[in-house]
């Protein structure tokens, strides 16, 4: 079977997306949730660059990918800061333990 390189990259994107969604569904540790979000965003960033490449407008794809990298880093930083404060206050990183909602 002869498959083009761009289709291989598309398969990689779907694979990373699947791993990220699975991790998000089964993870309860706050730091690991941030980590899994990073995997998901890497998949999206790769998809943006691939779309720019396929559409013959790689500059636009790169520009959007750069914005995604900045936003992703800020999400990681704020998420980690939140995790540190939660750990100091509740003594755990388990999202089930820190839930204060009843019912």
């Amino acid at each position: 079977m002869n498959i083009s390189p761009l289709n291989v990259v598309l398969l990689v994107i779907i694979g990373l997306l699947a791993v990220g969604i699975y991790g998000l569904l089964i993870t309860r540790n706050l730091i690991k949730i941030v980590l899994v979000l990073q995997i998901l965003v890497k998949s999206a960033m790769l998809a943006l660059v691939l779309a720019g490449k396929v559409g013959n407008n790689l500059g636009l794809g790169q520009s959007l990918a750069a914005t995604v990298i900045v936003a992703d880093t800020v999400v990681a930083v704020v998420g980690l800061a939140l995790a540190v404060q939660v750990r100091r206050r509740f003594g755990t990183l388990d999202v089930a333990d820190i839930s204060t909602l009843r019912g």
Binding site: S4, P5, L6, N7, V9, L11, V12, I14, L16, L17, A18, V19, I21, Y22, L25, I26, T27, R28, I31, K32, V34, L35, Q38, I39, K42, M45, L46, L50, K53, N56, N57, L58, G59, L60, G61, Q62, S63, L64, A65, A66, T67, I69, T73, V74, A76, V77, V78, L80, A81, A83, V84, Q85, R87, R88, R89, F90, G91, L93, A96, R102
Partner: protein, 179 residues
């Protein structure tokens, strides 16, 4: 030949991502995530997005890894294998369905005619999408505030599980009195 190169790099990225997700030790997970960033950077470079590849390598594999290791050194690695939020077979079913529907939507990759006017990254970023640059600046300031939150040494008042349990019991009894 180029397809095999993408395939090897992609498989390595997916395996590292899976190992990062299932590893019980958080430090191992963080290092695997750095490997994913490195693999994605090489794929981006091969796709022709050299600038973004460099940014991804320095930020994704460098800055984020350092921040995560620092956060881990603050909170400690308890290395517990927590039960999943939802049953694992259900999670696998959701993932398979999601991947299947995404694959149906995007495959096969159709290349459009090459009559689109292409601009360089410099022109796009500094002339056509200036608002994105301003948003990035605002986001970076938010990130700085996040780093301050991460580095703050002020200890919050810890709430013990006994106090929370007592609080819940009091809340429940008050609801019963009202009803």
């Amino acid at each position: 030949m180029e397809s095999y190169l993408y395939l090897i790099l992609g498989l390595a990225a997916i395996v590292c991502a899976y190992r990062a997700m299932i590893s019980t030790r958080l430090l191992s997970s963080i290092l695997y995530l750095a490997c994913v960033s490195a693999m994605v950077s090489v794929i981006l470079y091969l796709l022709g997005a050299q600038q973004v590849a460099v940014i991804e390598l320095s930020v994704g594999a460098g800055l984020v890894t350092v921040l995560m290791v620092y956060a881990l050194s603050v909170v400690g690695d308890d290395a517990r294998d927590l039960l999943s939020v939802i049953p694992k077979p259900l999670a696998i079913l959701i993932v398979v369905l999601s991947a299947f529907f995404v694959a149906i939507m995007v495959f096969p990759l159709v290349e459009p005619p090459l009559d689109v006017t292409s601009f360089s990254l410099t022109v796009v970023l500094w002339q056509q999408r200036v608002l994105d640059v301003w948003i990035q600046i605002a986001l970076i300031f938010s990130g700085v505030l996040g780093v301050l939150g991460l580095l703050s040494e002020r200890e919050a008042t810890p709430i013990s599980h006994t106090e929370r349990f007592a609080d819940q019991i009091v809340g429940t009894s008050q609801e019963e009195v009202h009803s």
